[in-house]
């Protein structure tokens, strides 16, 4: 990829905006199209773009597999814990109403929290799937793009 200067520069310019757009989609899910799953996929696509241009090894340096593995579990646990807290407050599982001073605000907080968990898990899963598939086999084209991306 050392010859593809335009691609490398444009990628470096675009990735922050992709990540920002993913966060926008994540937090505006209750006002427009969006939510955890969509945002997670867009967030992961930034890492996929980086891996396509700069190679899987560099991407694994940026986000190690262990971080992704913990991310996968952490999101589900956040969702589950948001559901268990109401149990201690005396209401059924996943009832968000007591989570704030009034029921609508409680619902908002609850939805925010579970969507956040979903976003973390989905982005970790998508990035992990891509990196696992990309790092299997095909070791022979490392010589072609291994060389000199030292920037």
């Amino acid at each position: 990829m050392r010859h593809h200067l335009v691609l490398r520069v444009v990628t470096k310019l675009l990735i922050p905006f992709i990540l920002l757009f993913a966060l926008y989609v994540q937090f505006h899910g209750d006002f427009g199209p969006g939510g955890g799953f969509q945002a997670g996929v867009i967030f992961a696509s930034a890492f996929v773009l980086y891996a396509l241009i700069y190679g899987v090894d560099k991407t694994l340096q940026v986000v190690p597999e262990d971080v992704l593995r913990v991310g996968i579990g952490l999101g589900v646990l956040i969702y589950g814990m948001t559901g268990i807290v109401p149990l201690f407050l005396g209401v059924p599982y996943l009832d968000y109403s007591p989570l704030a001073h009034s029921a609508p605000h409680g619902q908002e907080n609850g939805i925010f929290s579970v969507e956040f968990g979903v976003g973390i898990t989905v982005s970790s899963v998508m990035a992990m799937i891509f990196l696992q598939f990309a790092s299997r086999g095909g070791k022979d084209d490392e010589d072609a793009n291994g060389g000199g991306d030292e920037t």
Binding site: D66, R69, V70, I72, G73, L74, G75, V76, L77, G80, G83, I84, P86, L87, F88, G90, V91, P92, Y93, L94, D95, Y96, S97
Partner: protein, 493 residues
């Protein structure tokens, strides 16, 4: 607080143990988490059964998120549910106790924590399908359990499991998608997804062609998941080449849960009047059930691979369960549900015994089992116990379910059906005797590995065998709950 939220905890605790296993990368930690969560799930299912037996109206209704049905998702537990929950959780707990040495010998080290993660996800999915009262929720949990079982089957060392798992994936996804289409069509005409609400709205719409098409799609989809003949071809390879723990767990639970959903859909959502009265689904399923009984047992006789033989035997036993339902009386449905329970115990014991054999000898073909009766006496005795149950010998629980099945057939006046049930049991004698003859009446080869399986694997196997015999003698729990469940399904309907 705990007792009133048991339905939610039944699902949440196994579910949250899965990401905990992923984060705790090391195998001993993952195994400890899975072990504790499975046994807690079993305790909760026992408490739920006790609660349902003492609840008003025999039903527990739990509103997830505090939203009342039909706006929200409802977990609705009655005797049928609680019974199947008990079976699934019990098998889940017994098999995880067995799993330590077996997984160590059959699954490479880097993948073991992933195995326990998928095991807990599969358990969660199966428990969720059983407990929920919302038709779409069934689809979600069904796919959770199916996806994790595709992974469980293919994670071992046998490469034939990969193609088997792929075929299971194609079949299972088509089946689940057919179910999804049926639910979508029902939602379109009734506007609700809650099972009780659907049951109250469908009788007014039974002339509509959409309802008929939805019925057909759901029937075919669930038949694919339950491995009812002729949609069973994914099952033999999937159970034969999977790791032993996975075969034992899936054979005892996955198809049973699909049959439970079948009963729920036909008898609760559509109601006996529509399903049996106007659509005649029982007359449609009857020839397939009988074919399954005979084809399954007959093909089992010729299999050199014992696990494959047990898989074909499972297909035959699923035929018995569907036959019980197709008799369409309260006694018939009792027999079907009872066989669900008993078969889980018997097949579980048989597959666990084969896991012990594989642990010691590294092979499960009939040729490698020569003289095993002397080299591994406890394991083969467990196999014989399970085998006698499959045949239906008195003193085992298999006899009780065959007894009820034959009584239900005779009560309806169908003597020919009773004769067919007894005839196919004779076929079972042949394939069980094959193994017994090779194990006990042939001398062991000189270089054969000897020694019994580890105690950690023998004890859970024998727990299931003893349960086999216990429920063959004291039928108050198994028959009592099954009868109440059948009455709730057929009578209330």
């Amino acid at each position: 607080m705990i007792l009133s939220n048991l339905p939610a905890l039944q699902i949440v605790l196994p579910l949250l143990s899965a990401p905990a296993c992923v984060i705790a990368r090391r195998t001993p930690a993952a195994y400890a988490i899975a072990f504790v969560a499975s046994w807690v799930a079993f305790v909760i299912s026992c408490l739920l059964l006790w609660q349902v037996e003492h609840a008003a109206g025999g039903v527990i209704s739990y509103h997830l998120g505090g939203w009342a049905p039909p706006w929200g998702i409802e977990y609705r537990i009655d005797s049928v549910n609680a019974y199947v929950l008990l079976i699934v959780a019990a098998i889940g707990a017994v098999v995880i106790s067995y799993a330590g040495p077996s997984v160590a010998s059959e699954i490479p080290e880097p993948k073991r924590y992933l195995f326990y993660t998928c095991y807990m996800l599969c358990l969660t999915g199966l428990l969720g399908v059983t407990i929920t009262g919302d038709a779409f929720n069934v689809f979600v949990f069904l796919e959770i359990s199916s996806l994790s079982s595709y992974i469980l089957i293919s994670v071992g060392k046998d490469r034939r499991a990969l193609t088997a798992s792929y075929r299971y994936l194609i079949f299972g996804t088509i089946g689940a998608t057919f179910y999804l289409i049926g639910i979508g069509l029902l939602y379109q005409v009734t506007g609700t997804l809650n099972m009780a609400d659907l049951a109250s709205r469908i009788p007014a719409l039974t002339g509509s062609r959409t309802v008929h098409v939805a019925f057909a799609f759901i029937a075919v989809g669930l038949a694919m998941k339950a491995a009812l003949f002729p949609l069973h071809i994914w099952l033999p390879n999937a159970y034969a080449y999977a790791p032993s723990v996975v075969s034992a767990f899936l054979a005892s639970t996955a198809t049973k849960v699909s049959i439970y959903v079948l009963l729920r859909v036909y008898l609760t959502i559509f109601g006996p009047a529509f399903s049996i009265g106007s659509m005649g689904i029982n007359y449609l399923l009857m020839p397939f059930a009988i074919a399954a009984m005979f084809v399954g047992s007959a093909v089992a006789i010729f299999q050199p691979d014992i696990k494959r033989m047990l898989a074909y035997s499972s297909i035959a036993q699923i035929g018995y369960m569907i036959l019980g339902f197709s008799i369409a009386t309260s006694l018939g449905v009792t027999a079907g549900i009872l066989h669900l329970f008993n078969h889980a115990l018997m097949k579980g014991a048989l597959f666990l015994a084969m896991g012990c054999v594989f642990y010691r000898t590294g092979a499960v073909s009939i040729g490698s089992m020569e003289g095993l009766g002397r080299r591994m006496p406890w394991t083969m005795a467990a196999f014989v116990g399970g085998g006698l149950g499959i045949i239906g010998v008195p003193l085992t629980c298999g006899f009780i379910s065959k007894w009820y099945l034959v009584s239900a057939a005779i009560e309806r006046g169908w003597w020919w059906m009773a004769a067919l049930v007894l005839l196919s049991s004779l076929l079972a004698i042949i394939y069980v005797w094959r193994v017994v003859e090779v194990a006990y009446f042939r001398p062991a080869p000189a270089d054969a590995p000897s020694g019994e399986a580890p105690l950690l694997m023998l004890i859970p196997t024998w727990v299931l065998v003893v349960a086999n015999v216990y429920f063959g003698l004291d039928t108050r729990l198994s028959v009592g709950v099954a009868a109440r469940a059948a009455k709730a399904l057929m009578g209330g309907g």
